[in-house]
């Protein structure tokens, strides 16, 4: 009987049932078959209200959406262009840096491609980059800043795995930079190969003007990182200060958006995403706690120990598994469902929980551009009105480069753990 019910729920997930409903049904059924009162699921849901860092999710997302809706993308693009545009492949590097910045603030929710794609695409094409290179670059960049603070997946991982978010924020910086450096090197290489590539000269006066133009955006990373690591504020307080700062800057200093007209709309947009994520978080807690109580991770561990003998083989296996997960599931559901199951297993194999977090998130970042269902491929296809198949082809070189970076991040833990 229970297998039929579980199979039914699984089919429901495949035909497009909302993940929160799928998780709830799994949890409710599991509790029912174990003769536990269903109100226990509600008890688990209510535990979410006790997570102190939960506030960072809505406030950082709101701040990111506010910036995306304002003219910040144009201002930051001008600044990055003035600072880096003179390099060979400079505009491509500008695209990588600017997308990483925005993804860190908008939580890799597709907003980056939607908000910046329209600006970056004509810029790259005008500089004579091929369409394939351009599409691949923007599609990949859409999730590039995922390892940088204050990215939503990092926060969610910290809440689920009970790992210090402050530590995770700093742990992702070098691996995140590594990804940007590798992709920048490829952009320089491609820039050199591209015929008639337009290169702009460096202008100090333009850099100065661009800095003045984006003067209120420049302090943002320092408010978040400086505030937290200077010991002045917690991550939760940083999210509130960032949100307030962005509202003041966007509504009163730049006057890009109106407090009465636009801000409520942005709240609606951002909270629709936040609500969808938090609901999954609430509903999956019951299920994952049940699985942990039933010692499912330990059963996975004992069966794995039969063919996996050391940490390095485990990490290889983990990467393959997570790449499949990343290509099939969205990042938020994957974190909520998979992390509680693999965390105890990884610890048994001696993998540091912070290193595991960065490996996990890098895999899922790659999942965004992995065919056939990587979400960025569909967002780009929709945004640029190109067939998904052409996006598959365009993303291949980037996929290979990201996999190389993944191997480096996985097998050189120092990159992640150097701070501790």
């Amino acid at each position: 009987m229970s297998s039929v019910v579980y199979l039914g729920i699984f089919i429901y997930a495949l035909i497009g049932g909302p993940i929160f409903a799928v998780m709830s049904l799994f949890a409710l059924s599991a509790f029912y078959f174990a003769d536990i009162q269903m109100s226990a699921v509600a008890v688990e849901i209510y535990r979410t209200a006790g997570a102190p860092t939960l506030l960072t999710i809505p406030l950082f997302t709101f701040a990111g959406y506010m910036m995306a809706e304002s003219k910040s993308p144009q201002r930051l693009l001008r600044l990055a262009n003035a600072a880096l545009g003179w390099l060979p492949g400079g505009v491509a590097i500008v695209s990588l840096v600017i997308c990483a910045f925005f993804t860190a603030f908008t939580g890799a929710s597709g907003v980056t491609i939607i908000a910046l794609g329209g600006l970056l695409y004509p810029m790259l094409i005008n500089e004579n980059y091929s369409e394939e290179f351009t599409l691949g670059l923007i599609t990949t960049s859409g999730s590039l800043g995922l390892l940088f603070p204050p990215s939503l997946p990092i926060i969610l991982y910290g809440i689920i795995a009970k790992v210090d978010i402050d530590k995770l924020f700093v742990a992702g910086i070098i691996p995140g930079l590594l990804l940007i450096i590798i992709l920048s090197a490829y952009s320089i290489f491609s820039g050199r190969k591209t015929k008639n590539l337009v290169r702009q000269p460096f202008s100090f006066s333009e850099l100065k003007a661009a800095m003045k133009f984006a003067r209120y955006e420049i302090p943002l990373p320092f408010i978040v990182l400086g505030g937290i690591y200077g010991g002045f504020i917690t991550a939760t307080e940083a999210s509130a200060l960032t949100a307030l700062y962005v509202v003041i800057v966007v509504c009163f200093l730049y006057k890009d958006l109106s407090l009465k007209e636009d801000v409520p709309k942005v709240i609606k947009e951002s909270m629709t995403l936040v609500g969808a994520i938090l609901l999954i978080l609430c509903c999956a807690l019951g299920l994952t706690n049940y699985l942990v109580d039933e010692e499912i991770p330990m059963q996975i561990l004992s069966s794995m120990k039969e063919f996996i003998t050391n940490k390095y083989v485990f990490l290889l296996f983990l990467n393959i598994f997570l790449l499949i997960v990343g290509a099939m599931m969205d990042i938020f559901s994957a974190i909520i469902v998979v992390v509680p199951l693999i965390l105890p297993v990884a610890q048994e194999f001696g993998v540091d929980p912070i290193h595991l977090a960065i490996i996990f998130l890098t895999n899922l970042e790659i999942g965004y551009i992995t065919p056939p269902v990587g979400i960025n491929l569909f967002i780009s296809s929709f945004r640029f009105k190109k067939p998904v198949l052409s996006l598959y082809k365009a993303s291949v070189p980037y996929l290979i480069l990201m996999l190389i970076a993944l191997v480096i991040i996985t097998y050189i833990p120092w990159l992640t753990l150097v701070w501790f």
Partner: protein, 163 residues
Amino acid sequence: MIKKLDNLLDKVSFYSIVICVAGMLLLTVLNIILRWFNTTMLWIDPLVRHLVFLSAFFGGVLATGRDNHIRIDLISKVLEKFQKEKLILWIDRIVHIVAMIATFLLTKAGLDFAKMELEFGKVAFLGIHSGALTAIIPVGMGLIFLRYLLRFLLTFSKVELDE
């Protein structure tokens, strides 16, 4: 009538979520400012956490209305390619029905929990009883259930669904 109810539910959730976000933002900033003066108000932190919890459900109602819930929509994408609109519509209705079952059961589970908490719980902060706080679950899930029901009924009418 159904569409009017759906719009009303959307508006209520929209205004509520704006209040929740403004509340959590201003209260957290107030907490930081108070700390500079070595003062703390112990009720701010739990109130903010419950505002976030509440906004999860209002956000859920909005996501339901815009069909924006996170899901694996592989099959619908394939069917769209083959232009099987009728099949997509029926799958959509099944998705709605099962989601209604899930949210109804969660409302019931939440109600049982809230009743228990009302009986055995205690005042949490600002004189608010823990039973009232746990009632966020049945109320929130109930609203999502209602939105699914309205959206399900709307799939039978030819009225264009607005955002």
